[in-house]
Each structure stands twice: as C-alpha cells, then as structure tokens.
C-alpha cells in the first residue's frame, strides 16, 4: 500500500516503454500473503479478454487444510507463466509452424489465426503446459439462449496484438497475454490493477529501479514447478498458515504442486 505502488508501477512502465522492445523483460510478482481469494482478478481478466464461457486465463485456486478449529484456507492465483523455455511452444509449433512465438520482451504469444485453424496444435499446447494455463475457445456465449445475446460478448477486443471478435477466436486455444494490448498503451495488466489485496506486481526486470526488481532483490520468492526447467516469469512471495501469515516459503502448496 505504501507510496502508491500502482502509480510507481505506471512510472516503471513508462520508462520501459521508452526503451526498444527487446530491452524490456516483463515479469509478474504475486505476494500470496496478501491474496484474499476474492477472484476480482479472474473477473477482470474475463471482462478484459472476453474469455470463452466457463473459462478464464486466470484462476485463483482455494484449498482447505487441517481440521477444526485450527483450519487453514489458502488462495493461489495462477495464470500463464510466460516461460522462457515454454513447453507449449515446443509442442504446438511441432504441429503448426508459428503457432506460438516468444517475444523479445518475454511475453509468449499465440497466433490466433494459426491456432483457430489448427486445433491439434492447441491441444498439444494444452497437454504440454504444466500450469493449466491454456483454454480452448469452443465458441458460444454466456447470454446465448437467453432473451438477448448481449453486445459485451460479441464486441471487438484485443488479443495477441490484434483486434478480434469471438468469431475470430472460435476454435483457437487462448491464454493470458500479460495484457500486452494494455501494456503497449501504458496500462497495467487487468489483474494487477484490480487486486483489492494489493498482491499483484508487474514490471520490467531489466530495470534495476523498477518495483519488481526491488522485490526480487529484497524478498524471498519462489516459483511454480521450477524443477521442470520452464523458467517461468511469475514469482511468488509468501505462504504460511493462518497462524503464521508472514512466512515466506510455499511449504504447504509446493508439497503437492512442485
């Protein structure tokens, strides 16, 4: 909360945008001690990216541990980790060339047109991803079958740097883009700005004065499925039990999820 971290990250963002793309290195940091499991990030993502019905690029898992009355209840937000060694890229491009690209700023981008035309490439990506980050757009709308198909579902939106509608994304596999369309316009990703617990951070790891660089330097962080060698760009801070909120290892969650 101190010093308005949101404005600071905006500042970091503008310095990054002033550099050529290849000099930026986007990372996300999630302080799970501050996640309160409200799912605002998930809904913001769904609204921003017009995710296929029943899916979101971002999920907050909930897990109850121990027994009454010493019960713990954990919240674990996850999304695409924009790995530097992305298993989805290897798998999908083997099926359809150019399906997945790794940008110089770190973002892993799907080609919507290629994915829409090559269901097998998408399926391969989903199978390869160890983070359950990828969804398939099977078409359909939330308001289909109701008295009115609403325009917020059929509208144009931005995905992978292009203006599309759900008609373009039908059949494609889709995932988090670190809200690249917002970044390039000087805005933070939709999940980062909406977080009411202020657990989300985003910025340029190549800039030593950015907030995320400071967090990596000063806080104990951990990553998901590190041993798989995916080199994820999402870092986590924290996880202790209810009686020990300030703990900084994911001892509990990683027992199952490492």
């Amino acid at each position: 909360m101190a010093t308005n971290e949101i404005l600071r990250m905006h500042d970091d963002l503008e310095r990054a945008l002033a550099k050529p793309r290849e000099e930026r290195s986007w990372i996300m940091v999630v302080d799970v001690r501050k996640c309160v499991g409200d799912h605002g990030c998930t809904i913001s993502c769904i609204a921003e990216n017009v995710c296929p019905p029943g899916t979101s690029y971002r999920k907050v898992f909930e897990s109850e541990w121990e027994s009454y009355p010493g019960v713990d209840w954990f919240f674990m937000p996850t999304n695409c980790q924009h790995c530097d060694n992305p298993p989805c890229m290897k798998a999908a491009n083997a099926v359809a060339k150019g399906a997945v690209k790794k940008r110089k700023d770190g973002i892993v981008i799907f080609d919507t047109k290629v994915m829409a035309k090559n269901a097998k490439a998408g399926a391969a990506a989903i199978k390869a991803c160890p983070y359950t980050a990828i969804v398939t757009d099977k078409g359909g709308y939330y308001t289909a079958g109701t008295p009115k198909l609403e325009k917020y579902e059929t509208r144009t939106f931005f995905e992978n740097g292009k203006e599309v509608t759900r008609k373009n994304t039908k059949g494609a596999t889709r995932k988090c883009t670190f809200c690249v369309h917002r970044l390039e316009s000087g805005m933070l990703p939709a999940c980062v700005s909406t977080c009411i617990g202020r657990s989300m951070y985003f910025g340029d790891a190549n800039d030593p004065s950015s907030l995320v660089s400071e967090l990596l330097k000063n806080e104990k962080t951990w990553q998901f499925n590190e041993k798989l060698g995916t080199k994820p760009r999402v870092y986590y801070i924290g996880y202790g039990g209810r009686a020990n909120i300030t703990a900084v290892t994911a001892k509990t969650c990683l027992e199952c999820h490492q």
Binding site: C195, T246, T252
Partner: protein, 1057 residues
C-alpha cells in the same frame, strides 16, 4: 477447492516480523508521494506524447486508454458503492475498473488536479462484483416497457401498458383489473392525497404531536380542525396522521441522492411519512448501538449521535472482527482489504475474527474464534472480565468526565463511565442530575473520593467505581453497573455462552489491551442481526471505550466525512431543503411505529402493545407489510416497492408475499425494478427503472476511509428503458420519471414548473441531481470550490458522451439544470466522478490522531434506552451492554423444539444482494450454486456425505419450502458441503441463490413466454426457514431496541432430500 485437509502443515516457515528488506512503512512516511521518479509520471506532456504514439500505431491502439471513452460513475453491486471508470466501446460499456481519484480505490489517491488524460490509463482496484457490473447492466431479462399484471399477483403473467395509462390508473384508481375478473375498486393515489394544503398540514402536525404526548385532548383537536378531519385516517387518533400516510414507499437499496429526493417527494410533495430504506434487514442495530453510545445531552434531549465507526486499519496493530471481516462484505472489501493485507504481510497487524464460519477474513487471522451464533456479547463481556480483572483498561481516559477533562489529558473524546446512575426498584434508570440532590440543574454528577461533584464546564475527574447513596438516592457509576454485569458470570460461564475457550478469550483480551490505542473492536451484521443485536453491538463498542481508542491512529474513527450535496452548509448555490414551495408537513406515526414511543401515542392501552414500537430505530423494513396486514397502527392502501425485494431478502420473507398476494389487504402495489424480481413479481404494475450505470446518485462513504469523500453516480450509457413524456419533456422511464409523472397528474408541490422556486423547473431527473453536483463543486465553506474545467476537459466531457442521445444527454439542458455559473465546475467534478480530499502526510502518520476526529462523548451508560419500556413486556431496557438470550416479540425465551442445528447466513465476496450471483454469469462461472455448509463432525453425526442433497426445515417451516402464492413452491434444498471451517452444530447457507424471479422462471408478457434461465435457479435461499415470531405470527423476530431483523437465531433440522 481441494480436499487434502488432513495433510499436516509443517511450520518450518520463516517467521517474518517486519518484511524482508523493503520496509513499506518507511516508504509511506517519506512524505513525497512517489519520490523523484514521480514527476516523470505526472507530466501531462508525457501523457499526451504517449497517447499520440499509441493512437498512431494501429497495432497497439487501445481505445479504452483514452479519456474520451471513459465516464466515471459509482458502482452499487454492493453498498460500498466504489467509484468506477466505465469504459465504452461503440456505445457499449465493456469494462469497469476502479476510479484512481477515489480515496477508497487507490491509496494514496490520485491528486484531484490530475488531468483526465492521465487518469484514463490508471485503473484502480475493484472487487469482482464491480467488474461484473457489465452483466447487471446488460442483463437479458431487463425490463424496458411498463408491465401490468394479467393474472393473479405473483402468477408472473403480464401485459405491456403505455406509461401514461399506467400512471393514470395508479393515480385515478378504479376497477383496474376488471379484464381479469377482479371486481374490486382500487383506491387511486388521488384519493390518498387527502391533505393537500401546506398551512393546514403544518398546524395539524403540531397539534397531533401535542395530542400524542398527552398535552392536548382529542376533543380539542377535533374541534380546532373540524374542517379537515376527513383528511385523517382516524379523527379519534389524530396522531396516526392523514390518509396520505396510507401510501407507502418501501425502498430496498436506495442510496443518497435518490434518498433525499424520495423524502422530498413522499413527505413534502405527497404528504406521507411512510418512506423506508431497508436498514433493519441489513445492519441497523449496529447503527443504533453507535447512535445511542454517541448521543449527547443538550437542552434536555439526547441526540446528534453518529451512525458508525470503523478501525483506522492502515495504522492498527490489532483488530478483532465480530461477525464480519475485511474481504467478503462489511463496508467494504475494496477500501478495507489492502489496509489489512499490508499490515498482515509486514507484521504490523494481527487480526482475530469472531464468526461461526471460517470466513476468508478468518483464514488470514491469527485467531479464528468460532463463536456460537448470538454469543458475541458473551465473548465481549468475557473479554471485559479479564480486562477489568487485570486493570487493563485506560483509567485516565475513563475517569475524565467531560470535555475539558479530556482536553487536559490530550484525549479528543470522553465517556460517562464515572457518571452516577439512579438505581430504581427495577434496576438502573436515569442518570443522576444535580437537581436530584439539590446541587444544580440537569448537569450530571460524579463522586470524588465518595463525595458528589457536579459535572459542569470545568474539568472533572470522577471515581470510576462507586456504589452507595447520595442524599438518600441509591446510585452507582456507569462503570460499576457495567462491571456488575461483567462479573455476574465466571469466565467459564462466558466461555459456555459464547462457545469460545477461556484460554482464547484471555488471549484476545490480552492482545486487545497490548497495543495502546492501536487496537479496535469491529463489527457488522454477524452480532447484530439477532434479537439481542443492539446489546451485542453495545458490548463490542464498550470494548473500544475501555481502551479509549476513539480518534486515535489505529483505533476507531468516524471517517473522513463528506461535503454536503444538499447545500445545507454553504447554502449556495442550491439550498435544496429550502427550495420546495408549498411543501407539506407530513405527520403521524409511521406504519412500522419507528421513531415513536408507544407511551406517547393515543393507541397506548397498557402492555402488551399489539405489535412492537421502535422509538430508537428507523427503516424497520420487516415490519412494514405485516403491520399493514394487521392494520396496526393503520392499514396501507398503496405501496410503491422500489429497488427492493422484501419477500425474498427479509427473514421469513414468505410472510410478506402471502400478504402482498392478497389484493384485499393492500389494494394497490406497484414497483420500480430493472427486472421482474422475486417480490416485484407480486406487483400490479412494474415500471422499468434505470440501472446503476444509467443513473444518478451522490453516495456517502464508509468510515473506513480517512479522507473526506463525495462520490457522484452519473449515467455512463443511454438508459435502456423506454422513452416517456413527463411535463412535456421526453425522458427515459425510471423511478424519477414515475414520481414526476404522479406529480404532474396530482399537481404536487415541488414538481414541474417552478418546482424548485420561480424560474427553477423540476421536469426531469437532471434538474435535481445536477444541483446536488453543483453544491458539491462549491463545497461546504468559502474557498472550497473546485477549479473550472478547461477547454480540454470540456471537450473530453462532451466527447465521452457522444454515444448518448439528446434525450439522455443534452449539454444545454444539463447546463441549465446545474446553473450556468456552476457548469464549468460541475464538469470538473463529473470528469472525476466526485471529489476527494487529497492525500497528505497527515494521513500517512502512524501516531497521534486521525485527521478528521469525532471529538465527542461516548456513553458507557445509555440513559435514553434505560428510560424506555419494552412495548410488550413493559419492562425497562438496560442502559449498559448485557448478555441477553434470544427472545420473541413478547420477551419470552425461544424453545428450540428439538431443532438442534443453528442456521446462519453470510455473503460471498462474489455476491451483493439479488443482482449479482447467479445472474452475473462471469461470477457464477466461479460459484454456480451455493451449498449447505456443515462440519465434518456434524455430517458424520447426521450421516451426510459430500454432494448429498438436504432440505432445511424449521419450527415455522416444517415443509422446508418457499410457499409462493399463485406459483409453484420453491424447495429449500441444496447440496451439502462438508468443511472443517465451521463450528460443529452450525449450518451456514449463503445469500444470493434460490431465485424464482430475476429471470429464473418463465414469464408471460403479452401472451408470449419469455423462458427463464435454469442457471439462475440453482442453490437455495434459506430465509423462508428463519423463524416467524410466535407472537406476531406474520413477521420474523426482531431486536426490540435496534429493530434489526433476526437472521441468525433460527434452529433447524436437515432432512435428506
């Protein structure tokens, strides 16, 4: 949710006191908002350059980053009413985010002078419900045209009807339903508009008050007002008021802006007293507890109390949350969560959560205290027993008896802990006055070393404990009386009553008193929606009084306050209160008998009264319809249901539906709603209302926000409702159009031409709300006006509204409504969605006092309440917080009759009232239905497995169904969810589900069936199981002092389904 709950959590994790490295506290105290790099961001030229770069590059053009595609408004998916940015694409609202100018959505908030071109790119925080507002706005079941029922009430058969015809019918009355075989003559509003003359009304109002208090006889009244007796409901009881009172406006989620207009119209234009909000099904008893504790005694009367306080969570070191938290509901998650999580992560703050259910807030707590439902006072009194036993209260604070004594010790507040209370035969009564012992007038009295001392203006410090006689009068200090209650039970007994282990009671009491003033006891609906709710609330507030944390950083605060949109402070540009020519004085007891006392009425006939009277409370929502059925104090002839659903949201709401379904009881029922809701389904007419994002308001802010804040809700898109003509002006149908149209038909004062005064017409909603905004723009004092909008801001303002038709946005019309000389300032405000105090270093400081202090007295002993008798038992109430068992309206303890599981309810963060889950499909993609939550032990005892279906039954609902007149029953059946996070023996069922309205059922309109959506039928609504009061027989139980309705005092059984 995974079910690996048996895994042991090894605690080798590193305990982290102040955070590794980066000390956020240091950053906050640096003073400069952002440090050197900040200036980079705030440079407008940079913003423009960036925008140009963005818009010139086709591949990265993102229109929602541009200020001309943003309109600021105010959410209302829950009552936190967060200021929002609504982003518009091709005329459609497509994304909602938090407003960065708002102090409740960004800390520190963006400077008010920041240009919109910069603010457009900065999204502030917002909860999932706010994000999903798009789906409430664009709900496929939204009503566009006016509906009139074409079958029995509740049958959900409708025909569309022209707006003007509908208005003619409700105003004119007649055999309105002859076409469907109902021969009944329905009284129209014109017949209820009996008393029309302002002068007569004023005189009768004054005299009726005299009659009620026994100062004037009925005969004298009848003689004086002989010419107007036919306007009265009953000339033998003038204090019931005029027939106008038989027109009720029962509002659910009405908010500031519309609230003031509603009272202006119903009280002043129509002449009925019966305007209601929903507060007693919300958290009223907590307000009443705060109100009574903060009342001051002036000119022989108690008054001026504050509604509530909240912990200054940014600086607290310990907060104990009773029946609420900082994540799911309360008031509310976006402003609160961050302050707490920041403290939890850095180690500054530790919290304890008192809740029978492990809430998300409790999941972050040092201690989760799984209290017995209703056992909150017992826990608080148990804590006080430890605190008093160890002398851990602030003696210096408590012994300061008046303002000057408080000032001497540097405290902004003081208590009446040392004031002497007269001990009557039936217990403590009034506070001792100097005149009682021949030492003065009506000043209070304390003792010093056992000798009586009058509390005048000079500083007085009194004895905390005294019990004895002064001049033959038996007295005790307020503190002694509280101590008597606290010590009346052992720790073991308080433990048994609250369900919390003695060790835990002692641990939280210790923690609460180990942080100086930087600790707070917080509460919301959990402890107060019980029949003993007021006392539970008072007990919790007493904890705060014991440590004297009021106005201290980290302690309790009344918040930053707001500017006065009604112009009542600066009196310009528009002193709205004085701008109602021909205003009527509405008078008479309200139908709910709130704010009246039984003893001061012509209906007094000894105890018991027929139904309870509520002298301390207001907005007694659950009593309105049932009182109309009993015709006590009188019947209702017409009811306007507005944005509320008493038949669904009230405990035992089915009792209201039964009454509404019978046109013989309340002959005319019309509603303003955005859909056919659970209760509006029982109306005769439904007028479609504008949705939140299509309309106006000036919401106030939770005391959780330390900065002064005035929020503005304004239309962000064209209202979807049909265009109608009122006072010759085209406007969208909505609540305002209806009240203006009725005003037009009946020539009501304060509406139409010159409605605000000569040359100031009131013919459309903007005429009212833009004056409110103009008042905010000028502020409460000279020199507080906001700057005029410059050319760029004016351009952005107009361009952002290019998608709205002239009917809904005409800048020339709006300028006229706002006043030409105010327009440029109004635009500045509308371009920011309100105005907020800028952040400064004083807010960052961790020590000292909060910036906006309460600076007043706190009552350990509430004389007002102690003087009053229970209207059914005739016994006096208590002046201090006591433990009281759950009782019915007749004051009798409940007999659980073999129903041995306790039912509680709660809100999920994904749900507000009826308008969010499951109708907002994004939200229900995460939570498609609700469950019957029970503990593993309870499940084992009853033989339930996860996913089994169960039915909830209670003593007053043995079938376990919602009996819906003229419809199929809706069962209270749901899937059992077995969790560790709930007290064994308690059953928790959330709100939000179990709909039969709101698109859940098939609806017939003009003979065509509009199919319901099965996704909206999921889950269950537990309210029909909540106990019907055995004395009242047609309403739920209530708290006799605070009037909160009882949500959590019902015992149930679970049957296999």
């Amino acid at each position: 949710m995974t079910t690996d709950k048996k895994k042991k959590c090894t605690s080798n994790s590193v305990k982290n006191k102040k955070g590794n490295g980066l000390s956020r506290r240091t950053l906050l105290q640096t003073g400069a908002l952002l440090g050197a790099s900040a200036t980079f961001f705030y440079k407008v030229e940079r913003a423009h350059a960036l925008l140009e770069k963005i818009s010139s590059s086709a591949s990265t053009a993102y229109p929602l980053a541009s200020p001309e595609n943003v309109i600021y408004s105010c959410c209302l998916q829950c009552h936190t009413a967060c200021p929002i940015k609504v982003k518009i694409l091709d005329g459609v609202a497509v994304k909602i985010d938090g407003n960065p100018y708002s102090a409740q959505n960004m800390i520190p908030n963006m400077a008010q002078t920041t240009k919109p071109v910069i603010a457009a790119r900065v999204d502030a925080k917002l909860c999932p419900k706010g994000q999903a507002g798009i789906q409430s706005l664009y709900d496929p079941y939204r009503l566009v045209k006016v509906l009139k029922r074409k079958g029995p009430r509740g049958s959900n058969k409708w025909e569309t009807i022209a707006f003007n015809k509908a208005i003619d019918e409700i105003v004119g009355g007649g055999k309105l339903f002859a076409s469907i075989g109902e021969d009944r003559h329905v009284t129209g509003l014109q017949d209820l508009y009996a008393l029309r003359d302002a002068k007569t009304a004023k005189e009768m109002a004054a005299d009726a008050k005299e009659v009620a208090s026994g100062k004037m006889s009925v005969a004298a009244f009848k003689s004086k007002h002989a010419a107007s007796l036919d306007t009265l409901i009953d000339p033998e009881h003038p204090d019931l008021g005029p027939k106008n009172n038989q027109f009720i406006m029962q509002c659910g989620r009405i908010e500031h802006g519309r609230k003031e207009l509603a009272k202006r119209w119903l009280n002043g234009s129509f002449g009925s007293v019966n305007f209601y909000e929903h507060t007693t099904i919300c958290e009223q008893s907590h307000h009443i507890a705060y109100d009574q504790v903060t009342n001051s005694y002036k000119d022989g009367k108690w008054g001026g109390g504050k509604e509530h306080m909240k912990p200054d969570a940014s600086h607290s070191e310990f907060i104990i949350y009773f029946g609420t938290g900082f994540v799911e509901a309360n008031f509310g998650p976006p402003p609160m969560a961050e302050k707490v999580t920041d403290g939890l992560a850095s180690g500054r703050l530790k919290v304890a959560v008192v809740d029978p259910r492990l809430s998300k807030s409790a999941s972050r707590a040092w201690k989760w205290l799984p209290v017995k439902p209703g056992g909150d006072a017992a826990l608080a009194l148990g804590m006080m027993r430890w605190i008093m036993g160890k002398n851990r209260y602030d003696t210096k604070y408590l012994t300061a008896a008046n303002k000057s004594a408080a000032e001497k010790i540097g405290e902004p507040s003081w208590t009446n802990a040392t004031c002497l209370v007269k001990i009557e035969e039936d217990g403590p009564g009034k506070l001792l006055r100097a005149s009682d012992i021949g030492m003065g007038k009506d000043e209070f009295v304390v003792t010093q070393g056992g000798k009586a001392v009058v509390v005048g203006k000079e500083a007085v410090v009194g004895d905390l404990d005294f019990s004895g006689e002064i001049e033959g009068v038996k007295v005790k200090t307020a503190f002694t009386i509280l101590k008597d209650e606290v010590m009346s039970k052992s720790m073991a007994q308080w433990s048994e009553l609250s369900g919390i282990d003695v060790a835990d009671i002692e641990a939280v009491a210790n923690e609460f008193t180990s942080h100086g003033k930087k600790a707070g006891a917080e509460m919301y609906r959990g402890p107060v929606q019980h029949t003993n709710g007021y006392y539970n609330g008072q007990a919790i507030i007493s904890l705060n009084m014991l440590i004297g944390n009021i106005d201290h950083k980290g302690g309790m605060s009344t918040g930053g306050g707001h500017w006065h949109e009604d112009g009542s402070k600066l009196k310009k540009p528009f002193d709205i209160g004085g701008m109602h020519p021909g205003k009527l004085a509405a008078f008479g007891h309200k139908l709910s008998r709130e704010k009246s006392s039984y003893e001061k009425s012509t209906l007094f006939a000894g105890y018991p009264a027929k139904r309870p009277w509520f002298p301390f409370s207001g907005n007694v929502y659950q009593e309105i319809i049932p009182s109309a059925a009993d015709q006590y104090p009188y019947g209702a002839k017409a009811i306007w249901l507005h944005k509320g659903t008493p038949g669904y949201s009230t405990p035992a709401g089915q009792t209201a539906l039964k009454i509404l379904a019978d046109p013989g009881i309340i002959p005319l029922v019309f509603a303003t709603d955005i859909v056919v809701g659970e209760t509006s389904m029982y109306a005769d007419y439904i007028f479609p209302d504008a949705a939140i994002w299509e309309r106006w308001g000036t919401p106030h802010t939770t005391p959780d926000v330390p900065q002064k804040a005035s929020k503005v809700r304004q239309p962000t898109v064209e209202p979807m409702t049909e265009v109608v003509t009122v006072f010759g002006e085209k406007q969208h149908c909505g609540w305002e159009a209806v009240l203006l149209a009725i005003g037009e038909r009946l020539d009501l004062s304060g509406t139409g031409k010159d409605g605000f005064g000569p040359g100031l017409d009131f013919t459309a909603r903007e005429d009212y709300f833009l004056k409110f905004v103009a008042n905010l723009a000028w502020g409460d004092k000279e020199g507080e006006a906001v700057a005029d909008a410059d050319r760029e801001e004016l351009m952005i303002f107009n361009k952002a509204r290019r998608h709205i038709s002239k009917i809904a946005f005409d800048p020339v019309r709006w300028e006229k409504a706002a006043g030409k000389e105010n327009w440029a300032k109004v635009i500045t405000l509308l371009n920011r969605g309100g105005r907020w105090e800028d952040w400064n270093d004083k807010f960052a400081m961790a020590d000292g006092f909060v910036v906006h202090k309460y600076n007043g007295n706190m009552n350990i002993y509430v004389e007002n309440v102690a003087k009053q008798k229970h209207s059914l038992t005739g016994k006096r109430f208590s002046g201090i917080a006591i433990h009281e068992s759950i009782k019915d309206a007749g004051g009798r303890d409940l007999d659980n009759q073999g129903f041995d599981l306790q039912l509680i309810t709660y809100k999920d963060i994904l749900g507000g009232q009826s308008r969010t889950l499951p109708n907002n499909y994004w939200l229900s993609s995460i939570l498609p239905e609700n469950y019957i939550l029970i503990n593993t032990a309870t499940a084992a005892k009853l033989g339930f497995k996860a996913g089994d279906k169960a039915r909830i039954v209670s003593a007053t609902n043995k079938k376990g169904v919602w009996e819906l007149p003229n419809r199929d029953n809706v069962p209270m059946v749901g899937k059992v969810k077995i969790v560790e996070g709930i007290r064994p023996g308690v059953v928790a069922v959330s709100w939000h589900f179990g709909h039969w309205g709101y698109g859940a059922s098939d609806t017939s309109i003009d003979g065509k069936v509009v199919k319901g959506d099965v996704r909206r039928r999921t889950g269950l609504c537990p309210n029909a199981a909540m106990l019907i009061d055995p004395v009242l027989k047609n309403a739920c139980m209530s708290d006799p002092i605070g009037a909160s309705s009882s949500f959590s005092d019902t015992s149930i059984r679970l049957e296999r389904a």
